[in-house]
């Protein structure tokens, strides 16, 4: 197992480098450069040239590529032009926020997806099954940014101003303005409250997909002979479903972890913008517009690594779930 993981990680190195190289040229060859954003009246070509020199953009693209590659391999990601600080510091500010949000969304999506899918399979063709299918399809076909706006409208604006509910969720940010003055338990509550809407916006769409997969997979499993045997032994339905069937039904669903991580990261771009969540997706998106080359490079590099790692985790999870799968 360890050898397998090491082998996978080693084979990921050329992959990640390849991605980084493609992104480098894509970003650097796009029209425009960062100085255009700092242009203002009265600025002559000399000043613009001076800025280019200050940013190190006066070199030809292949020289910049080699420099960037050399620096990156020694762990130096350079300076972010739009944030005026080392790229690594910028990433450390934003990456944790994105990870928290993605992890919560992934957790919620799988938890509910698995539960709902299982219920649907066990009660196939019941009213509950059909009505759940309709609801899931509703969320599945909804763009997440629109869902986000609707959640803000209902659970935040209407809940407070129209329906006068005792509880409503903050529409943006990660913590309240008075966060620093709260006690520990209030701080935790404050963070959770701020997480609810963005997590739901990201998770609901995924939940729907996972539940569909789970339902199909579960249906297949509960028709197997060993399930009939277990039932015939007189085991209760709960034990049969949760102990014998669930584990087997999960195997195809686990594949989705690896597949959904990139989906999540691209989803965070919109969700982070709408909820003013200071995360990586939004930061890279802005950086692309400002042609903040070093930041775009480092950001995509980290995303690439995370996707590779997530896929590895999914593969390792197979072995955890299914003892028959071994990587020796």
């Amino acid at each position: 197992m360890t050898r397998y993981i090491i082998r996978r990680l080693l084979s990921a190195i050329p992959l990640v480098l390849g991605i980084a190289t493609i992104v480098f040229f894509a970003v650097n060859l796009a029209p425009g450069d960062p100085t255009l954003y700092f242009l203002s009246p009265g600025m002559t070509q000399d000043v613009i040239e001076q800025m280019r020199v200050n940013f190190g953009l006066d070199q030809p693209v292949h020289v910049r590529y080699l420099r960037w590659l050399g620096a990156m391999l020694t762990g130096d990601f350079g300076y972010s032009i739009s944030h005026s600080r080392p790229v690594l510091e910028v990433l450390m500010d934003f990456l944790p926020n994105t990870l928290v949000l993605s992890a919560c969304a992934l957790f919620v999506a799988f938890l509910f997806g698995i539960i709902i899918g299982t219920i649907q399979a066990v009660r196939q063709y019941s009213v509950m099954d059909s009505s759940m299918s309709v609801v899931l399809l509703f969320f599945y076909s909804m763009p997440s940014f629109w869902l986000a706006l609707m959640l803000i409208l209902t659970l935040s604006l209407f809940a407070r101003n129209v329906w006068d509910l005792p509880i409503w969720f903050p529409a943006s940010g990660i913590v309240s303005v008075d966060y620093d003055f709260l006690t520990l338990s209030e701080k935790v509550r404050d963070r959770v409250m701020h997480l609810v809407l963005p997590t739901l916006s990201l998770a609901l769409v995924l939940t729907a997909g996972i539940a569909r997969y789970m339902r199909g997979s579960m249906l297949e499993v509960i028709r197997q002979d060993y399930i009939r045997t277990a039932k015939a032994k007189g085991l209760s339905e709960a034990v049969v479903v949760f102990k014998h069937a669930l584990r087997n039904a999960l195997i195809p669903v686990i594949t989705l972890v690896g597949l959904y991580i990139p989906v999540l990261f691209s989803g965070t771009i919109f969700i982070e913008t709408i909820f003013a969540w200071p995360g990586m997706g939004r930061t890279i998106y802005d950086a692309i517009f400002i042609r903040d080359y070093p930041l775009v490079m480092a950001g995509t590099f980290f995303f690439a690594i995370m996707v590779v790692v997530a896929n590895l985790i999914a593969d390792v999870l197979y072995a955890v779930i299914d003892p028959r799968i071994r990587y020796e």
Binding site: P41, M43, Q45, Q50, M51, V53, F94, A171, D178, R282
Partner: protein, 573 residues
């Protein structure tokens, strides 16, 4: 499975927990060594100042105002390198101090400089610096700070964005002389509105930045990570893309009004305007800077909120590339302008929050006098006549005019992605100009690409472009229309008109306003004749504000202009 779930939960809990450990009390800068060094001094200064200057026992003092806007401040308080509007506002009114500022009529009044004197020959200004202003780390603000700032911003290595400010000033160390600790002389050639730079330029601390090479100022942590100012508010925290927190400066000079009424002021970054409006409506933020015109009614309809508006310092126009053969004749450009119903478009796009523009002299400016100008009213029949005269006629009956040699009068209008107002302009023009025989093709281009296409002198790859422009109180169109600047980025129109050159030159050195007024009139008449641009509108700046915030004044000087006089209704705290 249960175990897995448990592990998952613990994992998420750990991440949450770790993330929530980030915050701590006090001033939060980054781990940068510069910040590690300066922030304790600020902390000490604040402790000392709060004891030395206790908050007056008056109900207006106290509380936090939260303001929301779509963008972070990219360079923060680093006035030597910033070109962003919010940055400039915070340098002028929040964290730093400028030598002078303007009253409501646009007249200079004392601020960091308690007095100043212009030499009789107009070739130098001598400023007396206040002696009671301290940097937020306890150091005194003096003439050396002013000298340092002046030398830094006039040095080309710094790449100070608004270089036009110093066109008629003596740049670098030769231009500035420290006479004593609180007296400084700056040299210049006499010119129009020469005091204006000192209204916008926040003075920077020499004792902290004096050793930084000028080409490194842009990347210095001072601006956004741990700015040490001397203004009414003290920097407390900046979480990038999320918020800035400022606290009242207890030691702000009594003569300038003493400490601000507010205890804290929070600047929040919320990039999505729908979310911003929601936050204002659910009273999570008190101030929403620059809502869209279509959001105005919802703010007006809410009894807890108020909508402020003022005529801002920007305008929107379509710039024409006169280098193109179809656009070389000014009659064609005039036909385009009067063939477009601009009044109707402005009403539709801005819902009344703005005024039709005919030239680039905005309503807040003393030379603004639209009544005395020739009219550019919607007149499609006259537009057709102008096009006929210029030799553009529909020779093949396809509805689009051609020149004698068969060139079709077909123009593209570019605008940037995601800007609905500019898209509307291009699309309505397409429809209205089609009726007079001009084919318009709206074309959307990503912002960075668009800038490159229109700003690169060798490229100028556009016929028309919908753009916005922000002006200072010191109005100066030299970059736009002077033929000597034709190879500089902003000479979009490629105008070459000796009369315009002469007027622009004279305007830039005419300090007397009544003399200048005549020149401005002449210049604007020429602009209307020449039509390098089809000017569209001066949009109003809107601001949604919770009624519990009192004392807010806004005008062309900016939304933050009297933030130290804002206070919260005591009943609402």
């Amino acid at each position: 499975m249960k175990e897995l779930l448990k592990k998952g939960l613990i994992g998420i809990g750990t991440v949450l927990g770790l993330a929530s450990c980030g915050g701590s009390d006090g001033r939060i800068g980054s781990s940068d060594p510069f910040c590690q060094q300066v922030l304790p001094a600020v902390e000490a200064f604040m402790t000392q100042a709060s004891e030395a200057y206790p908050t007056p026992d008056e109900p207006r003092y106290g509380g936090t105002v939260v303001l929301g806007t779509i963008g972070d401040m990219p360079d923060g308080l680093n006035s030597a390198v910033s070109s962003n509007y919010s940055d400039a506002q915070h340098q002028q009114f929040v964290g730093l101090m400028t030598l002078i500022n303007y009253d409501a009529r646009g007249e200079a009044r004392a601020y960091l400089a308690e007095d100043w004197e212009v030499a009789p020959d107009g070739r130098s200004i001598t400023f007396q610096i206040r002696q009671d202003v301290r940097w937020h780390d306890g150091e005194q603000t003096d003439a050396y700070d002013v000298a340092f700032t002046y030398e830094a911003v006039t040095d080309p290595l710094t790449a100070f964005p608004n270089a036009a400010f110093w066109d008629h000033y003596v740049k670098g160390p030769d231009g500035v002389e420290v006479i004593d600790d609180f007296t400084i002389r700056i040299r210049l050639e006499p010119h129009a509105d020469f005091m204006d730079p000192f209204r916008t330029l926040g003075i920077l601390p020499e004792h902290l930045l004096g050793d930084v090479p000028h080409d490194q100022l842009k990347l210095h942590p001072y601006g956004t990570q741990c700015p040490v100012g001397n203004g009414p508010f003290v920097f407390a925290q900046h979480i990038p893309q999320d918020r800035w927190v400022f606290e009242a400066n207890p030691a702000f000079p009594e003569a300038l009004g003493g400490r601000p009424f507010l205890d804290r002021y929070v600047y929040r970054v919320i990039p999505e305007q729908t979310t911003l409006l929601t936050e204002l409506l659910i009273e999570d933020i008190d101030v929403y800077i620059a809502p869209r015109p279509d959001q105005a009614q919802q703010i007006i309809d809410n009894q807890n909120l108020e909508l402020l508006n003022f005529s801002g310092r920007s305008y929107v126009f379509v710039g024409w590339n006169a280098r193109k053969p179809q656009l070389a004749d000014s009659r064609v450009r005039r036909a385009i302008t009067i063939g477009t119903n601009r009044a109707e478009i402005v009403e539709a796009i801005l819902q009344g929050y703005g005024q039709v523009a005919n030239t680039g002299v905005p309503p807040f400016h003393w030379a603004y006098d639209p009544e005395s100008m020739p009219s550019l009213e919607y007149n499609p029949d006259r537009a057709k006549v102008l096009l006929d005269e210029a030799g553009w006629q529909d020779r093949d009956g396809d509805g689009v005019r051609e020149s004698e040699d068969g060139t079709r009068l077909s123009l593209s209008i570019k605008y940037n992605t995601g800007n609905q107002q500019r898209q509307d302009i291009a699309e309505i023009m397409q429809q209205q100009l089609g009726a007079v025989g001009i084919e318009i093709q709206p074309q959307v281009v990503e912002w960075g690409t668009l800038l490159q296409q229109i700003n690169t002198p060798e490229l100028r790859d556009f016929d028309g472009v919908v753009m916005g422009w922000v002006v200072e109180f010191k109005l100066d169109d030299i970059d736009l229309f002077h033929s000597e600047r034709i190879d500089q980025p902003y000479a979009w129109s490629g105008t070459e008109n000796l009369e315009i050159d002469r007027l622009l030159e004279e305007l830039s050195i005419t300090a007397d306003r009544s003399e200048a007024m005549v020149l401005w009139k002449e210049y604007q008449e020429l602009l209307i004749e020449e039509q390098p641009y089809t000017y569209f509108y001066f949009p109003d700046r809107l601001e949604g504000i919770n009624r519990r915030v009192k004392g807010v004044e806004v005008d062309a000087r900016g939304e933050w202009l009297n933030i130290k006089d804002w206070y919260l209704d005591p009943a609402s705290r």
